[in-house]
Symmetry: C2
Subunit: 252 residues, 2 copies
C-alpha cells in the first residue's frame, strides 16, 4: 500500500486524526469501521461545495442549468475520474472477495471512497478545510466546463444546435423493428432536410435509438466543412465588414 502521506499531499490536507483517513479508505467488505457513514456526509458536503462554486462561477445561468451542471460534476463517473487521478485505488482497504474481483478498480467503490474522504476532511478540519480540498480537485474541471452543453442528451443538443441556426427541428421516425417482443431492436431515422442530413441508428428502445441517431446527426453536422446555416451567416458578416456599419462596430 502506498504511503498515505502522498495521498494527503495530493489532497492538500494533512489529517489530525489518522483514524478518520483510514476509515474513509475502508470498504464495508473489510473488517473494522467502514466508510459508508462518512460517504453520506461527504456526498452532502461535496454537493454543497460544488453548488456554491457553480453559483459564483456562473452568475447568469438559471437554477435548472446549475442543477444539470452539478449533477454531472458529482456523478459516479466524474468522481471515479478524480479518484483515479489521486491513485485512490492504491490506498483502499477491501475485503478479500472484493480484492480478488478487482474491486479497487470499480468506479462505485472509488467514487464512494472519494466522497468518504471529503466527509472525513470535514469532520477532521471543519467546513473550510473540506471546501478547500474539494475546490482543489474541481478547479481544473470547472475551467473546462461548457455550461451550455455539459450533461445534455444528444436530442436536446441537436435541437439547440438547429434552433441556434434558425433551422427546423429534426424529424425522427422508426423505420424498422427487429427481434421478438421481449428483446426488440428499434431502428430510428433522424432527418434534417435543410442540411441534407439523414442518419439512422439502432437501440433497445425507441428513445435510445433516437438519442443515438441524434448523436450521429450532430457528428454529421460538425463534419460539414461549413454548415449551410453558418455559411450564410459568414457571408453576411463579410459583406458587412466592407460597409460603414462595420467601422462603427469597431469603434465600440
Amino acid at each position: 500500500m502506498a504511503s498515505q502521506n502522498t495521498l494527503q499531499a495530493a489532497l492538500g490536507y494533512q489529517f489530525s486524526d489518522a483514524n478518520l483517513l483510514e476509515q474513509a479508505l475502508t470498504h464495508r467488505s473489510h473488517s473494522g469501521p467502514h466508510n459508508e457513514r462518512l460517504e453520506f456526509l461527504g456526498d452532502s458536503v461535496l454537493n454543497f461545495v460544488v453548488a456554491s462554486l457553480l453559483f459564483v462561477r456562473f452568475p447568469k445561468i438559471d437554477e435548472g442549468d446549475l442543477s444539470r451542471l452539478r449533477a454531472n460534476l458529482v456523478k459516479q463517473a466524474a468522481l471515479a475520474d478524480i479518484a483515479s487521478r489521486l491513485n485512490l485505488s492504491q490506498y483502499l482497504r477491501l475485503g478479500e472477495g472484493e480484492l480478488k474481483s478487482g474491486g479497487f478498480r470499480r468506479p462505485s467503490i472509488l467514487a464512494d471512497a472519494l466522497e468518504a474522504l471529503f466527509g472525513a476532511v470535514y469532520l477532521d478540519g471543519g467546513f473550510d478545510a473540506a471546501q478547500q480540498v474539494i475546490q482543489r480537485q474541481y478547479e481544473t474541471i470547472l475551467d473546462h466546463v461548457d455550461a451550455k452543453t455539459l450533461g445534455k442528451d444528444p436530442k436536446t443538443l441537436l435541437q439547440e444546435l438547429l434552433q441556434g441556426r434558425k433551422l427546423d427541428l429534426p424529424v425522427y421516425a422508426v423505420v424498422a423493428t427487429h427481434g421478438a417482443a421481449h428483446n426488440q431492436l428499434f431502428e430510428v431515422e433522424c432527418q434534417i432536410p435543410a442540411l441534407d442530413i439523414k442518419v439512422s441508428a439502432g437501440g433497445a428502445s425507441r428513445r435510445a435509438a433516437e438519442q443515438s441517431a441524434a448523436e450521429l446527426a450532430i457528428t454529421a453536422i460538425n463534419a460539414i466543412p461549413q454548415a449551410k446555416g453558418q455559411r450564410k451567416a459568414r457571408a453576411r458578416k463579410s459583406t458587412q465588414l466592407s460597409l460603414p456599419v462595420a467601422v462603427s462596430q469597431e469603434k465600440k
Copy 2:
C-alpha cells in the same frame, strides 16, 4: 407586509445586505431578481447541514437510515411547516396572479422561499451563519425524531412491528376491484392470523390499497390493550422470574 426585522429575529440572523433578504423572498412571478438561484444554493446548504446534524446526533445508525431521515426532514411538507412557523407568507413578494390564487399559502412556494433564505444567509454571512440559522430551526424537530420510524411507509412499519414480536408477516390479498380500467379502485385485505386481525382498505392502485390496509392493521394492533405476542412474552418472563435461570440473568 410585516417588518422584515421580525423575520430576522425569528431566524436569529441580521442581514448585512438587505437586497439578499429581499431577493430570497421574491417569487419568480414578481418583477425584479427572484429567488430561484438562491433556492438552488439554499437547498444544498440545507441538505448538508441537516446531514451533519443527523451524523452527530445518531452515531449508530447506518447511512441508509441517515438518508431516509434527511429526506423526511428536508421534504417540501417539512419545509413548509417551518416556513409557517416563521410566518413566511407575510413577507413573500408574489406576482398579481399568484397573489390572487393564494400562492402565499402554497407549500411549494413557502418551501422554496425558506431554502432561498438559507442560501441568502450563506451568501451574506458565510457557512457558520447558515449552519446556525438552519440548526436553530431544526433543534426542536430533531429532539422529537423517531429514528426507527420516521419516513417509513406503513407496510415496512407493520413488517418491522411483527418481526419485532417474532410473528409471521402479514398476508395481503386483492379482494375486489371496482370501476373501469382507467379509473379502478382496488380493495385489499391485510391479515395477521396470529393476532386475529383482518382489515381492508381501498386505493387507486394495488400498492396504495396495501399501504392503507397496513396502516389500519397498525392501528388495530395498537388498539389491542396487550397484543397477544406481547402477552405471551410477558407471561414467559414472569414464569422465568421464579426460576433459577432468571436469577442468573439478574447477576449479569
